[in-house]
Amino acid sequence: MRLRHGEVFAFACGSLVLAATGCATAIHGPMQKVSIRSTPPGATATILPLDSRVTTPGEVTLTRRSVYTVRFEKEGYQCVLAYLDRRSATAAFFNAGLFFGTMRDYETGAAFALVPSPLDVVMRPLSEVNAADAGRCDFRIPVETVYDDGTESEYSRAPEQNRSVGLRR
């Protein structure tokens, strides 16, 4: 089968448009749906810096370009601060170095993925917390960003349970 000039031109134009759009933008778009859960459920999760609220378990749609901090609050429990980080999305690597596509993916934020997803935290009852800590939020960091043990998308139980090792570089 021989292609005519018009078909070749149309194919070339189509390829160019796809390349300029960005693979990640085309595949999963600039927004990501993130599930937010807590144990026990029914906590109010405030997503900073947006200051939007959701009751757990719930879902929020966020732009992949930003990072977020989620503050969990529930009567009778110590509040929890947890991070949503961003990392490079696999879909962005299909651009294979195409300048415009890569640029477009970074510009829209589609080059990234928010982690961990789902964001799941365990809250401690105030009865189990020292009086000095009761007024302060418990802080959780993603294990995968601290330790090189292959763990992914998992939050540490509490800061005091983290291993005492230096920041790896």
Binding site: T69, I141, V146, P159, G166
Partner: protein
């Protein structure tokens, strides 16, 4: 081939313009209300992510992410720490717990820092 040169020139200008920028995202917590700007280059304690900041006088006042725009060239550790210091001082924090982000496949140093205000600890001169 004049048009080709123009495109190359445009791309070069775009790349040079983008390369000096970094993506800086500061998240201010409600606890930061009332804290004063401590001025550029203020005294700031840098701790690594394994540090346990559970001092009763320390409170989380915000966090900052410093990362790649996609075309950042000047994004080494020193530059990133400088940006963290700038953000922390502006927020009124005196301690930054820095965590390097892994798995970003970026050649840039990317970090997210927990910003704390530890007024009592600071007065005691703890390091």
């Amino acid at each position: 081939m004049v048009w080709l040169r123009r495109i190359a020139l445009g791309l070069s200008i775009c790349l040079i313009g983008c390369s000096s920028k970094m993506d800086i995202q500061l998240i201010r917590y409600p606890e930061a209300a009332g804290l004063a700007d401590r001025g550029e280059g203020c005294d700031l304690r840098f701790l690594d992510a394994a540090a346990l900041i559970e001092h009763p006088e320390c409170k989380d006042v915000g966090d900052v992410f410093v990362g790649n725009t996609g075309f950042s060239i000047s994004c080494d550790e020193e530059r990133v720490m400088g940006e963290i210091r700038l953000a922390a001082c502006g927020l009124g924090a005196d301690t930054a717990v820095v965590r390097r982000l892994r798995g970003t496949r970026s050649t840039c140093y990317e970090a997210r820092a927990r910003l704390l205000s530890c007024s009592i600890a600071g007065k005691r001169g703890e390091s």
